[in-house]
Every structure is written in C-alpha cells, then in structure tokens.
Amino acid sequence: MLNADFVARCKRHRVVLAIAFLIIFPLLMPFKAIAVNILIYGLYALGFNMLFGTLGLLSFGHAALFGGGAYACGLVMLRLGLPWYVGVFGAVLAGMLIAAVIGAFAIRTRGIYFAMVTMALAQCLYFLADQATEFTGGENGLRGIELKTIQLPAITLNFVDPLTRYYVIAFFVAIALIVLSRILASPFGAVMEAVRENEARARACGYDVRATRYLAFVLSGGFCGLAGAMQALHLSIVPLETLAITNSGLVVMMALLGGMGTFFGPFVGAGVFLLLENLVSLWTVHWQLFVGAAFVCCVLFFPRGIWGTILLGRAR
C-alpha cells in the first residue's frame, strides 16, 4: 500500500522528478557527449511515445519529423541567417507541418498500413533532401551550423562547453516535459487513451477518432521537430542519415526498451540503448548484435519495457 501510494505521489510530481533527474544526470555520466545524446534521443522517443504509447499508433516514419526539424533548424540559420532560437522555433513548426502533411495521408489507415504509409512518405522526404543538393547539401549533409555562445541578458553561455551545452538542451527538454505532461493530463489526453483502448467505443461516445489521431500526430511532430533542432545544434551538421529509415526504427526500439506509454520510459530506453552502444563498441565492432539481443530479450521477457517493469514492480 505504501508503495502504491509512493508511485501515485511520484506520478503527480512526475515533471519535477524528471527535471530534477535531468539536472543531476550529467554528473553521473562519464562522458558528457553521451548524456547530450541521451537527452536528444530521449526527447525524440518522447514525441514518438505520445503517439505509440498513449494513442496506440505505430509510425515507422518518425525520422521525417525528427530529421525535418533538424533540417529546418539548420536551414533557418544558414539560408535565412536568422538566430538559433528562431531555428529551434522553426524546427518545432516544421515537425508539426510535416506531421500534418504525412498525417493527412496516413491517418485514414491503421495498424501495419499506417506504419507502411508513414514509412513510405518519410522515405520521400529522405530522397527529396538527397536530391535538393544546393539547398540541403545532399548526401554530404547540411554543414556549418554554428552556435558557439548564447547571449542572455545577464550572462553569456559557452555552448562549446559540454556541460553548458547539456544544460541548454536540458532546458528545452524540460519545457517539452512540461508541455507533454499538460497534454497527457488534459481532456484530450483522456481522449487519446480512450481511442487506444477501444476505437469503436470511443466513436460511439462521440469522439472523432480520425481527428483525434491527426491532432496527436501533429503534436508528436512538434516534439520530434524540437529534438531534431537540438541534434542540429549539438552536431553543427545535419547528416542526411537523420532522415533515414534506420532513424525511424531506432526510436521504435528506444520506446519499446524504455516502456511504451510511460512518462519517463523514453529517456530510459534512449539511455540504455546509447550506453550499450557506447560500451559494447569499445570492445567489439559488432555492438549491434548485443544491442539487438538486449532488445529481443526485452520484448520477450519485459513487454512493458524497462521503466514500465520497474513501475509495475513498485506498484505491487
């Protein structure tokens, strides 16, 4: 009973706890670069998980939203010469816009067909970016995105410093966590759960299932676009692979590893995945074999994912 109570209390303060964790996290990590990557991919998985875990829609085209955001951020800064924060804002809009376009086609389908349509449309964007060489840099990627210092009214932040960079990105992740938490706690959050649980019933209640999915897809695009912008600022380059199909698959693995439908699971999933990748690749180049094995074990034995299983254990 004490445990269940504890979990309930944690749930109420999930945003504060998550942000507190993000603040101490880099101090626990040996390499700051991994911490930054975990943040970025955690945010990406968070946006994906809203669609997959909360609404039950499996998209295989989320790279288009993540990569689209990264390109948008880079293009706004390089081609329009606007400051980085406009780029970040543009990335969120681009993520939502691309989701709005892909969603308009994909939302009529469901299940495996939805996954296929989103994947096909994401591939279109990949080839578009590949062909529009003058604009996007083609297969060389979009190079030269520079952000060295951030001027705040009181202080100047050195974005080159790994720890500072981490906290700047963590700031945006914290905003995303607050926004997501509000969406999940809103009446619309209840509608998403209802649609996931039983589509026919939700429709009979008076909910427009298609419109609900569409809105959720667009919102998910906003989170993924933001994650893309963070990636662009972090790497100073947008590799073409950001839009690749592997990036769509990656986020599915991370969300499943962490625990679909849990609030903090996406970060756990991204963290475990990236740490495994980094640690195992120190020892062998065949790291994917081990990460893949870990993933298979997770799906077979812990279908709720790592974080989902921990939460379940605590609630008992």
Binding site: R182, I183, A185, S186, P187, F188, G189, A190, V191, E193, A194, E197, N198, A200, R201, A202, R203, A204, C205, G206, Y207, D208, V209, A211, T212, L215, L219
Partner: protein, 249 residues
C-alpha cells in the same frame, strides 16, 4: 399511436451478393420500449447497425425526429441524442470504471482541449459517479473495467451509453451471455431506463422481452414479418410458424 421518434423508409442492406435486409419500413414510437426479435440470421444485428449508424443502408432512409440521418457519421450520434450499447462487450478495458464513464461524458463538452487540466471539469466526475450509482457499480469505480464480471461490464456499457443523456437508447442483446441472475438485474435496469426515454432492444430470446416490451418487431430472412403489441405477436399465426414453433435455446 404516439409520436414517432425514429423511422426507416424501405432500408435495405446487402453485403456483396448477400441481401441481409430487404426494404424494411418501420417506425418506433417515442417513449416506448420496442424490441426487435427474430431467429438467428434474421437480420436483427444488421438492422440495429443501420439504426445506430454503424454503417449506412444500401438503399432507403433513416429518419430521427423528422430529420434524415442516413449516412451520418457514427461520432455525431451522441450529439443527436442517440446512444447504443454493443452486442459484444465494449468498454475501455485498461481504464478505471469511473474513467470509462467520465470520458464518455467528456465527449459532449471537450474533445480537443490540450492545455487545461482534466481536473478543471469536476462536474464530469460527479456525473460519472451518479451514473455508476444508477447501474450499481459505484463500489467498483477504481477497478480496471476489463477486470469486471461480464454482467458488470454490460452495466458499465449502459452507464456509458447514458452519458450523452440520450433521448433514444439502442441496446443490442444486452443480456447475451449473462447468468439468469444477471439477466434479471439487467431487465430491471432496462425497465427503469425505459421509463424515462425511448428504448429499442434487439434480442433473440423472445420470452425475455415479451413481458417488458410495449411493441415488438419480428424480422425473418431480412424482412419485417410482423409488428404489434406482445399480445398481437403472440396470436400472429405466421410468427408462430416461423419463430415460436422453433425450440428456443
């Protein structure tokens, strides 16, 4: 006859070459409990699905309160004042019982609000509580709906159907798969609900509805065989031949 709330004009439905319903014209008086009966395969469920808007008829029209609602999307029905329960139990299994009803209530006031907290709509939670009391589920409010007994899930479904405060309630075999005890409780509940609104009931156990219905429609092979009061139906020779002659199971 009293005012008509719902009527069909020569509705037919074909699935490929199979003609499930052949030109049924029927009307349902307001404030009454009408049961649609017929042997298995008579087209009852198809007719129910046409009335509840699950799919449109191949031909013909459906009129609700003088308005043509043929082809209206399902999610508009709650707003029109029509609610239904499903033949197969249909709840939100992982959500708590109370949330099932609350989310059904929410459909009328908030569908796309993404920023304000749910807790800002406390009247929904209170009304959900009241509906759970009507169907006798208030003590199970925190349980996941999927863990309820079959009869309780059916009762929960009715609470959800009532959320829209419908003028017309459509029930598809509400006692299917229930124990005699659960069936009796459900029949009492249906009578209680029918005293306040129009109810249309689909049932293949004829005995069950004879006692509680104001009117009966008998379907057979996709056609309307007879309609009338329970007494008239009981005396109808054709009905006796095709339906009552059969052994009920």
């Amino acid at each position: 006859m009293s005012e008509v709330i719902l009527s069909t004009e020569a509705v037919s439905k074909s699935f490929g070459k199979f003609r499930a319903l052949a030109g049924i014209s029927a009307s349902f008086p307001s404030g009454k409990l009408t049961s649609i009966i017929g042997p298995n395969g008579a087209g009852k469920s198809t007719f129910f699905n046409l009335l509840s808007g699950a799919f449109p008829p191949s031909e013909g029209r459906v009129i609700f309160e003088g308005r043509d609602i043929t082809g209206t999307p399902q999610h508009h029905f709650a707003k029109l004042g029509i609610a239904k329960s499903f033949q197969i139990t249909n709840v939100f299994p992982q959500l708590p019982v109370h949330e099932n009803v609350r989310v059904a209530l929410q459909a009328l006031v908030s569908r796309y609000q993404i920023w304000s907290p749910r807790a800002n709509l406390p009247e929904l939670a209170e009304r959900a509580e009241a509906l759970l009391e009507i169907v006798g589920l208030q003590e199970h409010r925190h349980r996941a709906a999927g863990t309820l007994a079959h009869g309780q899930q059916r009762a929960l479904e009715i609470a959800m159907a009532l959320a829209a405060n419908p003028r017309l309630l459509l029930l598809d075999e509400p006692t299917a798969g229930m124990s005699p005890e659960e069936t009796r409780a459900m029949m009492d509940l249906i009578l209680k609900l029918a005293s306040e609104r129009t109810v249309i009931l689909v049932e293949h156990k004829m005995k069950l509805v004879m006692g509680i219905s104001d009117r009966l429609l008998v379907l057979h092979h996709g056609e309307l065989l007879a309609e009338g009061t329970p007494d008239e139906i009981r005396r109808n020779e054709t009905v006796k031949r095709v339906y009552l002659g059969q052994r009920e199971h």
